[in-house]
């Protein structure tokens, strides 16, 4: 799960960079940047969940 988390982080960043470089300065670019950040947040969540101690106190 940790590897998947890091892959999500890199994929999200790639989306952001591609949007900045390739898309015109209009709405689509902003949407893709926000989408890339959302993918990174999923990656962060996966990374945090991959920690064996995360959320143990709830069980």
């Amino acid at each position: 799960m940790k590897l998947a988390g890091f892959l999500f982080l890199l994929a999200g960043w790639a989306i952001v960079v591609a949007a900045v470089v390739l898309l015109p300065p209009a709405n689509p670019r902003a949407i893709f940047v926000v989408a890339g950040v959302a993918v990174e947040i999923i990656g962060l969540a996966l990374l945090i969940r991959s920690n064996p101690l995360a959320g143990m106190e709830k069980e």
Binding site: W13, V16, G36, V37, L44, N51, A54, E57, E59
Partner: protein, 450 residues
């Protein structure tokens, strides 16, 4: 015959030099805070590690860091995409070769960066307290000072692609980070998160059920005195950074000198209030973390916000730090004794975002890093995107890079001290003597050596 112009040492340069020479106070302050937040049996180790880390960071940065970070207008490697040139790495000589120390902006930037990289490298020590080997901390610092930091610093402060976003992609002024909320603090804070993950929690920190145990810092006076020193250092850092990296006029030092303590004070009061409300009494270590979090968040926008906005930025930072310290420890299972991740990464990222929310740029002040000045003087929707791209780069690129580098280092050179060393304390195990030999607070461990 035309006389050859001599070194330029104007009053502005003198002011910049004085401001830069305040920055070591921030380094000293963070060192004291980390030491106070650690355990007494590792206190001397933490202070020595702080000095070693600073020394290694300065040395590695001198060898190759500045060459890759460069400065505005220096030769750089570019990628041409969609008809535009994107600057991604500097091509300056190693060992500061060829740099004239005559008061030119490039020499001032190099001087400031020596201290800045030391400050960034100190941050992970807060997350690795009481279990990070001295040698491993130095090796990890070399990776940060030689690779992670110069790369991101070039992108924002050296005229790199993040600074170019205003010109190349019509995103406001490009990424604005006057005092280093992102470049120094968030880079250091994300490295701290990597270190905390790789090292794992201290022995005895979590029960078998995963409940964290309180392992309080050993010296509140060191922590609070460190907080005062950080204010002095941050005044220099924010002012010098704003002048050198965003083109702010020296007159802005007055505004920065007001905004910086206001943000720190607001963050402190919010942290004191929250802990007083939740636990019945103010918590010293969390309140101190709130203070530093306010300083961290103030850095990016200090020269371009009103004092009232600085208070709001600081107050939000104080609340963020207070709650995120608890979340990281309780819910995310991250043992971060110094609160480095919350204080430097979380508050740093908030500081970057605060530029988009609160900053007003007098034209033509910023974007010198892109080599062109834009005349926009009010809030620009594109500025939001620029700051968001910087945050995305920190989380999506810097975090995987620094984690990967430190994990690779850990494979070859295990970073965590062995169990016996942790039980004895790093002072005895790695240095052979305790910081407070006349105290008998750990009698059973000292008596073993009789």
């Amino acid at each position: 015959m035309t006389p050859v112009p001599g070194p330029v040492f104007t009053p502005e340069v003198a002011v910049s030099v004085i401001l830069i020479l305040l920055v070591p106070f921030a380094v000293a302050g963070i060192s004291l805070i980390n030491t106070g937040l650690g355990r007494s049996r590792s206190a001397a180790h933490t202070m020595l590690a702080s000095m070693c880390i600073f020394a290694v960071a300065a040395g590695v940065y001198l060898i190759c860091g500045f060459a890759w970070q460069g400065y505005i207008g220096a030769p750089a490697r570019v990628i041409v995409a969609a008809g535009r040139e994107w600057n991604w790495l500097a091509r300056a000589p190693f060992f500061l070769h060829g740099l004239e120390f005559d008061g030119a902006p490039s020499s001032l930037a190099a001087c400031l960066q020596i201290f800045s990289v030391g400050l960034a490298a100190l941050i992970p020590l807060g997350a690795g307290l009481d279990r990070w080997k001295l040698s491993a901390a130095c090796a990890s610092t070399a990776l940060l000072a030689g690779c992670t930091y110069p790369l991101f610093a070039h992108w924002v402060w050296g005229g790199g692609w993040l600074a170019q976003l205003g010109v190349n992609a019509a995103m406001g002024h490009g990424v604005v980070d006057a005092g280093g909320s992102g470049v120094i603090q968030a880079v250091g804070g994300l490295t701290a998160l990597s270190i905390a993950w790789i090292l794992g929690p201290r022995r005895g920190k979590y029960s078998l059920e995963g409940m964290p145990t309180a392992l309080p810092g050993h010296d509140a006076i060191l922590i609070l005195f460190g907080c005062f020193l950080t204010l002095l250092g941050w005044l220099g850092l924010n002012s010098a950074g704003a002048i050198l990296f965003t083109g702010a006029s020296p007159a802005r030092i007055l505004l920065i000198s007001i905004n910086t303590p206001l943000a720190a004070g607001a963050a402190l009061l919010v942290a004191v209030s929250i802990t007083r409300f939740r636990f019945g009494r103010p918590d010293v270590s969390i309140s101190a973390n709130g203070w530093v979090g306010g300083l961290v968040a103030s850095s990016a926008s200090c020269a371009f916000v009103t004092p009232f906005a600085a208070i709001v930025i600081g107050a939000i930072a104080g609340a963020l730090v207070t709650y995120s310290v608890e979340w990281f420890e309780l819910h995310f299972g991250v043992d971060d004794p110094g609160g480095a991740v919350s204080v430097h990464a979380v508050a740093g990222i908030w500081g970057l975002l605060a530029v988009a929310v609160f900053a007003h740029f007098p034209a033509p002040v910023v974007n010198v890093a892109a080599g062109a000045l834009r005349a926009a003087s009010t809030l620009d929707a594109g500025q939001w995107l620029a700051q968001l791209v910087a945050i995305a780069t920190l989380i999506g690129f810097v975090l995987p890079l620094t984690y990967g580098l430190n994990l690779a280092l850990d494979r070859f050179w295990p970073q965590r001290v062995v169990a016996e060393g942790e039980r004895q304390g790093l002072d005895l195990y790695e240095l052979g003597a305790g910081a407070y030999p006349e105290f008998v607070t750990h009698s059973e461990e000292f008596t073993q050596l009789r």
